[in-house]
C-alpha cells in the first residue's frame, strides 16, 4: 500500500477531480473577495497564513495531498474499515459531551489549542456514509424487509440524534439526506412521499391560519372521497383510510406542531424558522421573549437581518454582477457570516445571475456526474457510497443556497468546497476522493 503504484491514474475519473479543483479555487477566490481590504498586500496576504483566504488555500493544498494518498489506497481498505470508522465516529460524538467548548451557541466543537477545532457531527457523515454502504451491500441484507430498513435508518439517524443533543439541529438534518440512498436501494417511495407531505404540512401550518388549513384539509379529504367514490363503494377500508389520514393531518397541524414548537425547539430556533418563511414570530409569553433575547445577545444582528442583507447582496448583482471586489454589500460587511454560510452572496453580487447560474451549473454537473458514476458500479457498496456522497452534497448545496436567497431557514450549513472552514473542506474532499478511488476499481466487486 505504501509503495508507489505506477497505475495510480488508471481508472480515475478525472472529470470529478477537475470539478473538485474548480470549486475549491472558486471558494478561495470568493473568500478572498469577501475578506480582502483595500491596501493589503495580496501576495503577503496569501503567504502569511494570517488571513482567511490564505488558510483556506492551505486547507485546499492539504486536501489535495490527502486526496492523493486516498487515490494510492486500496479500495478494500474502505470496506474493511467502514464499521470501525462508524464506531470511531460515534466515539468522537460521545467525546464531545465532556470536552466541548462553547462557541456561538453550539456545543458540538472540540478545540485543540486556539487554531484548530473539530466538529465530529460534521465529520461523522463520512463514516455514516461508509457504514450505510457497507450495511446495504451485505449479502444477507434484504432491504425489502422493514427490519433492514429500520436498521439502515438507525445507522443514519443515531449521529443525527447526537447532533441535536449538541444543539446542532442544522447538521442533524443532513443525515436525513441518506434516505435518498435508501430510496435508490428499494425503500418504498411512499416513505419519501409521506415525508415530503409531512414537511409541506408543517410549513403550511406555519404559514396559514389554523382554521383555514383545517378547512382546506377537510375539502381535500372530501374531494378524495368524491373522486374515489366507486372504490369506496367497493371497499369501506379506503374511506376509513382517508378519514384516518385527514384525522392525522388535522391532529398534526392542530396539536403536534404547536407542541413541538413550544416544548421541543428552542425559542430562537422557532424564530429562525419563522424568519426564513418571512413571518414575524410573536413570542407566547415574556419568558420566551427573554429567552430569545438572551440567545441573541451574543450576536449582533438577528437572522432576519442576515437574510435581508444577503438577498439585497444577491439581488443587487443583476444580470452580470458588479465584478470581483466591486460588490458594495459584501465588501463592506453588510452580510454577516459571509465567508462561511453566506459565501454565495459574494458570487451572486459579484457575478450576477449569469455567474450564479454557471456556478450552480458546476454543482449540478458534479451531482449528475456522481449519479452516473454510481450507476456504473458493479459493487453495491460503491453505488451506495456514491449515492450517499451525492445526497449529502445535494442537501448542503440546496439548503445553503436556499438559505441565502430566503427559501430555507438559516441553519448554518456550509456550501461544499467553497465556504470557509477547514473541517468542512477536508471532509467533503475526502468523501469525494474515496468515491474517485472506489470508482477507479469499478470492475471489482467489493463487499
Amino acid at each position: 500500500m505504501s509503495q508507489r503504484n505506477p497505475t495510480i491514474s488508471k481508472g480515475v475519473d478525472w472529470s470529478l477531480v477537475w470539478i473538485w479543483f474548480i470549486l475549491c479555487a472558486i471558494g478561495v477566490t470568493s473568500i478572498f473577495a469577501a475578506s480582502y481590504h483595500e491596501g493589503e498586500n495580496v501576495i503577503q496576504g496569501f503567504i502569511s497564513l494570517k488571513t482567511d483566504y490564505s488558510r483556506q488555500l492551505l486547507f485546499f493544498i492539504i486536501a489535495g495531498i490527502i486526496g492523493t494518498f486516498i487515490l494510492l489506497t486500496d479500495s478494500k481498505f474502505f470496506t474493511a474499515t467502514a464499521n470501525l470508522g462508524y464506531a470511531f465516529g460515534i466515539f468522537l460524538l460521545l467525546l464531545v459531551f465532556p470536552f466541548h467548548s462553547k462557541v456561538k451557541g453550539t456545543e458540538s466543537i472540540i478545540r485543540f489549542g486556539s487554531a484548530f477545532q473539530l466538529q465530529p457531527a460534521d465529520l461523522c457523515k463520512l463514516f455514516v456514509n461508509l457504514a450505510l454502504a457497507k450495511y446495504l451491500s451485505r449479502v444477507d441484507t434484504n432491504f425489502t424487509r422493514p427490519r433492514s430498513q429500520l436498521i439502515a435508518a438507525a445507522i443514519a439517524l443515531v449521529p443525527a440524534m447526537f447532533s441535536i443533543m449538541q444543539k446542532e439541529t442544522g447538521l442533524s438534518l443532513v443525515y436525513f439526506s441518506f434516505f435518498l440512498v435508501m430510496f435508490r436501494e428499494g425503500l418504498p417511495a411512499s416513505v419519501l412521499v409521506i415525508g415530503f407531505s409531512f414537511s409541506v404540512l408543517v410549513v403550511a401550518t406555519l404559514l396559514l391560519e389554523p382554521n383555514t388549513l383545517a378547512i382546506i384539509l377537510t375539502l381535500i379529504a372530501l374531494l378524495a372521497i368524491y373522486i374515489l367514490r366507486r372504490q369506496v363503494k367497493r371497499s369501506r377500508s379506503i374511506l376509513f383510510l382517508i378519514v384516518g389520514i385527514w384525522f392525522v393531518c388535522v391532529g398534526v397541524q392542530r396539536f403536534v406542531v404547536p407542541f413541538v414548537f413550544d416544548h421541543v425547539f428552542k425559542p430562537y430556533q422557532v424564530k429562525r424558522i419563522y424568519d426564513a418563511i418571512g413571518k414575524d414570530y410573536v413570542p407566547k409569553d415574556q419568558a420566551t421573549e427573554a429567552a430569545i433575547e438572551s440567545e441573541q445577545k451574543g450576536k449582533k444582528k438577528d437572522n432576519n437581518y442576515n437574510v435581508k442583507q444577503s438577498k439585497i447582496a444577491i439581488g443587487s448583482g443583476g444580470l452580470i454582477g458588479k465584478g470581483l471586489l466591486k460588490g458594495t454589500q459584501t465588501r463592506y460587511d453588510f452580510v454577516p457570516e459571509q465567508k462561511t454560510d453566506f459565501i454565495f452572496c459574494t458570487i451572486g453580487e459579484g457575478f450576477g445571475f449569469v455567474g450564479s447560474i454557471l456556478f450552480l451549473g458546476i454543482y449540478a454537473l458534479l451531482l449528475m456526474r456522481i449519479v452516473s458514476v454510481a450507476e456504473r458500479q458493479r459493487s453495491v457498496f460503491s453505488r451506495c457510497y456514491a449515492y450517499g456522497v451525492a445526497s449529502v452534497l445535494f442537501f448542503h448545496i440546496v439548503i445553503n443556497v436556499c438559505m441565502t436567497i430566503g427559501l430555507a431557514p438559516v441553519i448554518g450549513i456550509p456550501l461544499p468546497f467553497v465556504s470557509y472552514g477547514g473541517t468542512s473542506l477536508l471532509t467533503f474532499s475526502v468523501m469525494l476522493f474515496i468515491l474517485v478511488r472506489l470508482d477507479a476499481d469499478r470492475q471489482m466487486v467489493l463487499r
Binding site: E38, F143, L180, F183, R184, E185, G186, A189, Q309, K311, I312, A313, I314, G315, S316, G317, G318, L319, T328, Q329, Y332, D333, F334, G348, E349, G352, F353, S356, I357, L360, Y363, A364, L367, M368, V371, A374, E375, V380, R383, Y387, A390, F394, V398, V401, C402, I405, G406, L407
Partner: protein
Amino acid sequence: MSVFNQSRSNVVRLIFAGMFLIIAAQLFHLQIISKKYKQQAQENALYRKSIYPSRGIIYDRKGRAILNNTILYDLMVTPAQVKNIDTAYLCQLIGIDTVEFRSRVLDAKAKNGPFRPTIFEDLLPPEMYARLEENIWKFPGFNLQERPVRVYPYNAAAHIMGYVGEVDSAILRRSNNYYQLGDYVGRSGLEQYYEKSLMGQRGIEFWLKDNKNRLVRRYGNADLDTPAIAGKNLHTYMDIELQQLAERLLAGKTGAIVALEPSTGGILAMASGPNYDPNSLTGPDKQTNYAKLALDVSGPMLNRAIKGQYPAGSTYKPVGALIGLDEGVIDPSSGIGCLGTYYGCNKPVKCLEKWPGHAANLRLAIAHSCNSFFCNTFRLTVDNPEYHSSRKGLQKWKEYVNAFGLGHRIGVDLPSEDGGNIPDTAAYDKEYNHSWNSCTMVTMGIGQDKMTVTPLQMANAMCIVANKGYYYTPHFVKDIEGAAEEDTLLNRFHQKHEPVSHITDDVFEVVRSGMQDVIEIGTGRPARIPGITMCGKTGTAENKKVIDGRVLKMRDHSWFVCFAPRENPRIAVAVIVENGGYGGAQAAPIASFMVEKYLNDTLRNERLADVNRIAGVNLMPKYLVRLQFKADSGRAADWARLTGDSTRLLKYLDKANRTFLLDTSEGSRNPLMQNIRKMPGYKPLTPRLAPVVPAAAAATPRQDSGRRASAPPDSPAAHRRPDTPVVHRRPDTGDSRKPSSTTIKKPSDQKGDSTQR
C-alpha cells in the same frame, strides 16, 4: 434487484434537477425581475456627503472685512474607541464632571452609534482648544474637528449683517428642499437678503460606507461629484468706523441713526439702539444668548432704523414747505404772525417760539421751526381752492408725501422693512364718519397726528432735498464679487428715482437756505461744525405710549435730519433718540458727530468730550422694568399652566420679591432695572496727543491692541465679548491700521475706535 431499482436513479436525477430549477427561478426573481434590491444596496452603501462652501465675506467701503469666516473646533467622540483614558483629566479640561461625561458618551452612542464620530462639545473657546490640542493624543477616541463659523471682527453692525442659524421647516419647504436639515442659512440682515450670493453652491461627494456607517472611500472616480463653489463676497458702502461711532453714540438709548450717501443711495451707517453683540450669536453660547435677546422687551434685535415707526415731528417741515411752495399756496416771502400758539382751528396748537417775527418768512419759519406757520401751510395745501374740496386736497397732499418716500417701503436690501404711515381720506372717513376738514388733522403739518415714518425714510427724504428732486433706493451693497454683469439683485439700486422732479431748483434752494439757517441761527445750532455748510432740521415728536391700558404722555422723541455739505452733498443723516427731549438736545449733536466724522474722517479733539458725554447718557425708559416683569411673569404663568411646575412662577408671586423686581428707584439692585441701566463697556475716547512720527504711530496702536486682546474685558458681565474674534482679530486690526501709517491724523482716532469697540 439492482435492475429493478434502475429507474429510481432517474427519479433521483429529477429531484436534483427540480431543486436546482427552483433555486434558478428564485435567483431570476431576485436578480433580474426585482429592482428593489439594487436600490436597497445603493441605500445601504452610498452616502451623499455635502461639502459646504465658505460663505462670502462682507467688506466695508474701504475694504475692511465686517463679516468674516473663522475656524472654531468641535470636540468629537467615537465611543467605540474610547478606552483607558484619564477621564478626570479630560473632564477638568472641558469643565464638566464625570457623570456628565458618561451621559454624553452614552448620548453619542445613542445618536450615531459607537463607530461614528459625534460632537462631544461644540465650538470650543480658543483657550480650551489650546489646552485640548496639546493633550488630545492622551484621549483615544477623541479628536478635534474644524468648523467654519461667522465672525464679526469689529463687533459692530449686528442688525445689518444679521446672523446665520439652522434652517427651520418653513425655509425647507420654501426652498423646495434645496436646503437640508442642519444647514445654516442667513436668518436676518444682509445674511438673509443676500443668502443666495453669500452661501455659494454646495458640493456633493459620493462616498461608500460600510455596515457601521463609516465612510470607506470615494465612490467611482469622483466623476459624479460636484465641487463646492465658495460664496460671493459683498462690497458695501458702509464705513465701519462711522458705524462704530453711531453705535457708541446710541449706547444706552433707544433710537436709530441712518447715514446715506445722497449721490448713490448707499448706506454709510445704520445703527439701532439698544444693540447687541453680533459675535454672541456665533459662539458656543449662541442658544442662550439668542433666547436672552429674544425675551428682552427692550427689543435689542429690532432694527429700529427700518422697523421703528415714529411720528416725524418737525423734521417733516421741509417737506411740507416744499409741497406748499410747489402747490403755490405759499411763497418764500409768506409769513405768519405767531406768538406761540396757532389759533386757526378750534384746538390751539402750541409753538415753541414766542417772540414776534420768528416766522416772518419761510426761511425764518423753517429755521425756528414755527408750528403755526406749518399748520397753516398744511391747511392751505389741503384746502387748496384749485381742488375744490379738502378731500381732493388731502389726496393730493398724500401723493406728494408719498413721492418723498414716506408712507411706503422704500425697498432697502434688508428683510422685513416697515413702511410707516401716511393716512389717506379713508382713515379719517372711518374715524370721523366722513365729517372732517383740514382742522381735524392740522397737526399733520407738523408731523404729528397719524403720520409715522421710519428713520430710513427720513434720511432718504433728506437725500431728495439734497439732490434737489431725485434719489436712489437706499442700499448697502455696492457690488457682488464675481457676479454676472446684469445682476438682477442690484439692478434696481442703480435706477434713479425722480418722484418730485417737477419741483424747481429755486424752490429747493429756498428750503435748503431755511435748513442751513436751522444750523446757523435756529434750533439746530448744537449741530454746527465749523467749516462745513450743513442743512438740517430738528424735530421734537410727541410721544404717547399705552401702558397698562392708559395713554401716557412720555418724554418727547428727539429727531434730527440733515445733509452736508450744502453743495454736492456727501452725507445725509437721520437720527432719532427716543425720549431724548428736544431735537437739539440729543439728536442734533449725534448727527453732527456723524457728519464730521465722515466728512473730515475724524473728530476734533475738543468734541471727544461731548461724544463721551452723549455716549454715556442712559435714556432707557423705566417702564421697561414693568413691561419686562409682566412678560416674564406671564411666561412663567403659562409654563406653570402647561407643565404644572410653578417654581418659576412663585418668584413673581412672592410679594417682597415682586416689590423688589418692580423697584425702579435709581441705584436699586433690581436686576431688571440694572439690565436697562447697563451700558456697553466702551472705553471713553481720549484726545489724541501731538502728532508723532509715522513709524511710531504705526507701532503704538498695534502694541496696544495686542495687550488689550490678552487682557480680560473690563466689564465681562455687562458686555460679554466672545473670545472667538481674538484669534482672528489680530490680522484684521493690523489690516484696519494699514492706512494709519500713511497719515498722521488718523492713527490716534482709529485707536480710539477700534480698541474701544
